[in-house]
Symmetry: D3
Subunit: 131 residues, 6 copies
């Protein structure tokens, strides 16, 4: 066996069902997405990850929309196909328009380019940025 | 010679001075930061990069503040020390509070974690995300 | 032609067959996996890579199981789909249980998160770590 | 202000002191390292991160030593200077010998090399790894 | 809607058609590849990216072939499946032989390995490289 | 002890001296650079890495100059400070001019940008690239 299968609610132990129920309640969705059904193979990580995501992604100094777009920026930079698909969907659900998506991609692309220019030219940090 | 030196305004050729002048004008700063002084070794890349950054970072569907925070998110994910220092400063200048910075880091950290969980568990993309 | 095809044993030149034979002998498998069938397009790299992998992955101060789990940790961090699939299988063959896989993923996820928190907060290395 | 300063115990608010005290208690150290003193700027992230690290790194199906070496493998792959320094120290404290460190680096290097060979040769996943 | 569709020439607005026409003219191809048909969702980014790529990839101190191979090296290191496929095709079209591809992959693999060995052993930069 | 020290020739065991001697002979240098002095802590990895680097970097279908520039492209993409410094020096020694360095950085930057645009727009591989 080298590939895992998703764990559906009906087959899940109580501890996993409790997390699935909370995810469905908080997000107002009828079922959880695959990410959680696979993490369910490790109930401790499933619960810890969900509790952390719930705390980190809630409305605060940054809006849920801003947070989802930041999530997309990181996922695109890392090239995580699953995360790009799921968080792009979440960002759109949170209000990201096509114009916002376009600008998000433009900034992510530009940042990845200038990160390498700064690396390659071995640019020392300006004193002003170290104060 | 294996390490470049920054090119200061007084030593810069006209084409480079023109870009430096535009950066200072647009940003309202007395001098450009090291990134531009090193890129000046390649005037074509200096000009193209500045024109692109100027177009990408201007106010639009996303605010300059949001764009600077996305820039920080990418730079932190890539581990570009210069870019983290310079764009954290730009984000603060654009209005990022400590509370916003804290939440930005929390989301960036969480996204980098769940990106790997999705990779490692080989989670297939939900049909709903492919429509 | 932009995509290569795997080179099967029957179609392989003597130098490639010799490497395939050694891989099958050392691993006790009836055939080599795709990675080697593609590397076979460059016999020199096929041989050098196999000799290196054989030397690096053999039992030593670290067990083959520990080494396969480290391989998975790196592959998950880099998001290499092929490597995650092949080395997860090798790790399981070497004795990795589901509980071990779960903890491996938990550590890899946490490390990727705190790596970015350390980057973003620009944490200086403690003197104690530089002695 | 573009660079943060570490928050020392004497200057820390109660919530932060409580986390610092728990870190010192669990690790049996007289003071926490810089990572925690910087995270202290965001008490919620400090507490969540410490609780998660404590849960993830405790002895389980994998030993603390194995977990610290996996942490090093990820940090080296990401090039996080602070994390490489701190977790190499933790791994040595947990029993990593020079021979083990040498083999760890050899596996991490090899995995990073073959990850790219698999990417570049566009190797399809063997059916056996998808079952 | 969470997944975009390619924008074909017949459905494209004038500004997008103008870019598509220039790509087809410069590359002497009957149609543009998917990358451009997706970027077309953001005409400003489509135009800016094409103008930049056209300027950067033209014959200069480095030949188009060398530039395409460097593009492949970066794409393989980042694990961008689309970019590996498209730029490997472009490199072959520009004259990359199988022997050149094999050596390119060998260098990319080796560089990714030694990058991590240098990180892990925390190797300080030689004075000679800082002059 | 958490930080290693370089191993100088006078303090090196015979097996390490033999590798150092070969590096000095092949490169025509009076001493080896720090990378090798740190790898010397693991003679087996030192020897295997040097033998591989020597084989991979020798003149072939690609010139030593082209190979050093590819090495820089990978190191800049990964942000390996030591590797950027050492291989930029090697590339210059092999004949890389400032104009070539500028174009190399421009291509590396552009590739890192478009890699992320391709990821973010979830661009499917054109059929033509899969034949």
């Amino acid at each position: 066996m080298s590939k895992l299968s998703p764990i559906e609610y009906v087959d899940a132990p109580p501890k996993v069902r409790a997390v699935f129920d909370d995810i469905k309640r908080v997000r107002g969705v009828p079922d959880v997405n695959n990410f959680w059904k696979y993490l369910a193979h490790d109930p401790a990580t499933l619960q810890r990850t969900w509790e952390s995501v719930k705390e980190v992604m809630e409305d605060g100094a940054l809006s849920p929309l801003m947070k989802e777009m930041i999530y997309v920026a990181v996922s695109v930079t890392n090239g995580c196909g699953y995360c790009i698909a799921s968080h792009s969907a979440s960002a759109r659900k949170a209000g990201m328009t096509e114009a916002m998506f376009g600008e998000l991609m433009a900034v992510v692309g530009m940042a990845n380019e200038t990160n390498r220019l700064a690396n390659g030219y071995r640019v020392p940090i300006d004193a002003a940025f170290d104060q």
